[in-house]
Point group: D2
């Protein structure tokens, strides 16, 4: 497929959904030129939303994080995370008992703050689990899950409760060449050990698309073909966008390299509507 100019494409749309990592920023910080692109899109009256597989920080913390990197102007409400979706799910579906979690206290704080009690899996007494009513895999950047993972398996073998994965990414980048196992990978491992179906939040699943689309339509009248999803990963951003029915742009500034793009598209059957080097071009 031919590479096109992102700005030429974007101006044809009423709204643009942006993945964060690999599109706006990378392991070194903000991608050069991104603030200008964002300013330009806003100047054209294009609505923007960030859709990110992340369950470690609240919308406010996310917005602050972008500010610190030098990307100002994003309202917390314009940033939609898989963690928010998990939080809303728990609020709607789990009405009593305690929510157990694997992850850091920080991520637990904002996802589990409202309503029910929550408890880290390491603090659970496996002989007394009657009041545990749900389990959440939270984000784990820098989290040592070596011991807690065994406790998680033993809890979930014996107790049949809804199990939620707040970020389904299997790995996250830590430097140009290196990645770490992420919470979604651990969840997949436990899922395969228990032969159970967990409820996954995060692209390619549609919850964030749905939420962004519904919110957008409170502020105006947006049709799916008037929306462009931009991402660096075929199996999350592009597959999710295609399934939801919006147009999709693959950028080559992150997970998918220019050399491999055509090949990966061909072998996966996941076909973006456009390919661009980055959003800065």
């Amino acid at each position: 497929m031919q590479h096109e100019s992102f700005l030429n494409i974007a101006v044809k749309y009423k709204a643009v959904f942006l993945d964060a990592y690999g599109v706006l920023k990378n392991y070194k910080g903000l991608i050069a030129g991104v603030p200008d692109t964002i300013d330009f899109l806003r100047s054209k009256g294009i609505a923007l939303r960030i859709l990110t597989n992340d369950a470690s920080r609240s919308q406010e913390q996310q917005a602050e994080g972008f500010c610190k990197l030098g990307l100002t102007g994003f309202e917390p409400s314009e940033i939609i995370t898989s963690g928010m979706m998990a939080k809303m799910f728990l609020q709607q579906k789990i009405l009593s008992g305690k929510i157990a979690y694997l992850g850091t206290e920080n991520s637990a704080y904002y996802i589990l703050q409202s309503g029910l009690e929550h408890i880290a899996v390491r603090d659970i007494d496996l002989e007394h689990v009657d009041d545990i009513s749900a389990f959440v895999f939270l984000d784990d950047e820098g989290f040592d899950w070596n011991i807690d993972i065994n406790k998680t398996v033993n809890l979930l073998r014996h107790k049949n409760i809804p199990i939620v994965v707040a970020n389904s990414d299997k790995l996250y980048p830590v430097s140009r060449n290196h990645v770490s196992v992420a919470t979604g990978g651990i969840a997949k491992l436990v899922e395969s050990m228990l032969h159970k179906k967990f409820i996954h939040f995060g692209k390619p699943d549609s919850q964030m698309f749905m939420y962004a689309f519904a919110e957008l339509n409170r502020t105006g009248d947006f049709n799916r073909h008037e929306i462009l999803m931009v991402g660096d990963t075929l199996h999350t951003d592009i597959l999710g966008g295609n399934k939801f029915g919006v147009k999709t742009t693959l950028v080559l500034s992150g997970n998918t390299s220019a050399e491999d793009a055509d090949l990966e598209i061909n072998s996966s059957g996941i076909i973006p509507d456009y390919i661009c080097r980055s959003i800065v071009s």
Copy 2:
């Protein structure tokens, strides 16, 4: 889990989503008592929608079909099918070329009628496929796919286009003890042969839930926890409803027998909020 009275549960909700096969009807026709339950729910002002994995007939044909069975009063607009979702997707995303399909002309008629040209895979000349821009697996009740399946594989091996599965069910019931392979099974086979990702419509995927939820909210103000999804199959109705965040009821009048319910819930980890013998109790 304890079995509860369906009517006692249903009256606590503002809307009820119903699966068709195994809930309203079975291989013999309408399940006895269903019209009374439907009348009762309507008399209480509860909004009703039927969500069915079916891509063989239009909403109007579906409504007529229920009338013929003796279940009157369902508007075409109250019946949401996986085929409709596939149709909307194609309208939004495929703007030029011809749409190739596997299935009967009848199902092709209503899904592919608007806009683009369509062509049955058996009528394709595999040497001239430049103008084929998408492929759809349609419903196949009574369809002999023995030859067409090979042509489908050969087309899709060489041409990388969006591939849509209009009904992801792997089998459909033909009598009390017997089933037939359905289009979703054939699609899975081809998917595994090609190692590609197709776009599947139908429960447990969320498109029908999304659509029903959005339509409902044009007529009033419905929150997810005020909606009850009712189905006979854990892996489609209940998993899909749980993921979407509505409450779920498993009924034992179809795919899941009373003897096996607890066991299947335990071994799958797919947990309905309620279990009822049927909607007539």
Copy 3:
């Protein structure tokens, strides 16, 4: 990886195992030059065996088939098929009852001839299946499985018996660009519908390697590192050979093209010890 001369490699080994399709022959017939290579290997005293995923013909029929193509000199006992392995399994493990099968009478004839009665699935009365003690998916070249597949599903849903797949290949080539769905694909479809484990025969599974290795060691003293497996398919020939512990050569005269070889090796992690254009070079 660099391509090497096959003959230079082969002479370092005491025995060579050869896949048939894509190595010795293709859709047009014998690959040019193959008889000379075979003669050369024999002249060097190298033991030869053909290991082929095929369950449609007996060893004798196979040897005759090669003769007709112009490759003489292979003894029936030098040709090992997945069908033979299935036959031996049934003889060892199924000692009473009738063996039901999906496939043509011709393939049934040689696999099921000895011992027990057998019955085509189309001839079964699904109300009387008490005496059915095992089921076999046979090879199906030119076989119309459209009706029989449904009967197979209905039989195997209700009766828990050993289920054997006599050839696990998902597709077979019918011309340069075209393939057909094969019995292994149908078996996979049924397996996924029933969530059951079938017993698969054929590479990459080790039964044929084991058998060839044991037979070889009746005629002399062969160590695994003295044996070379040659095939055109990474996921069957090379993966199977690697697992069994023999050396492996990928040839580019069949399934794997010269352009794609490095890429497929890299993305699959299945690494042959050597790569050659063909066995004629």
Copy 4:
């Protein structure tokens, strides 16, 4: 299925293959009565082999371990482990370079002692990996893989080498109700992250069956139907034994409880020839 007396069954066979955990011992030590059963079988002239998915200790250490528990008389050569199979594979197939591993030094010691240099993944400098020629997932009882797993992923993303899993069990029991994640689970996680095919050793794969069968036939003349495999796990012991073509007995003294046996057999399609409470009955 009906439960039968193990001794009545066993005496009909010339050789018995025994799984260790859940058959001979459990988390508390030797299962009561086991030494008597073993003595009885030996007195009848039945050949015995232990086939165990274990890569942490050598045959000698295994035999000593059984002695300490009170089960004397097993020669090291009668105990076959998945670790031995991995060791033999590496000796046959990897002839130069260094073998990297994930696991403890103790398990590395015996598997990797002969021939090539080996290096723990934690000691690898990821910038200098030219001489790494293979990778092994070793057993990890009590091993903290939290950091090393990330290094493993980063090594194997960039370097395409044969990857061996010396024990494919996903978990191991640590007490009556509790399990720990095992090396096979970690390997599966990495396999799914990299989309690569690793080479797995351990039941249900056939390498140990093959080895035991070949060794046995150096000491006499054993046919497969004269051999009985005994195990407590359908997906490893019974599936592996069935595939290999020997007779199989499921015992209910380990992983599979008496209540669940019929159900698990029915839902998996893995059918043992016999079921016994234990080998002591």
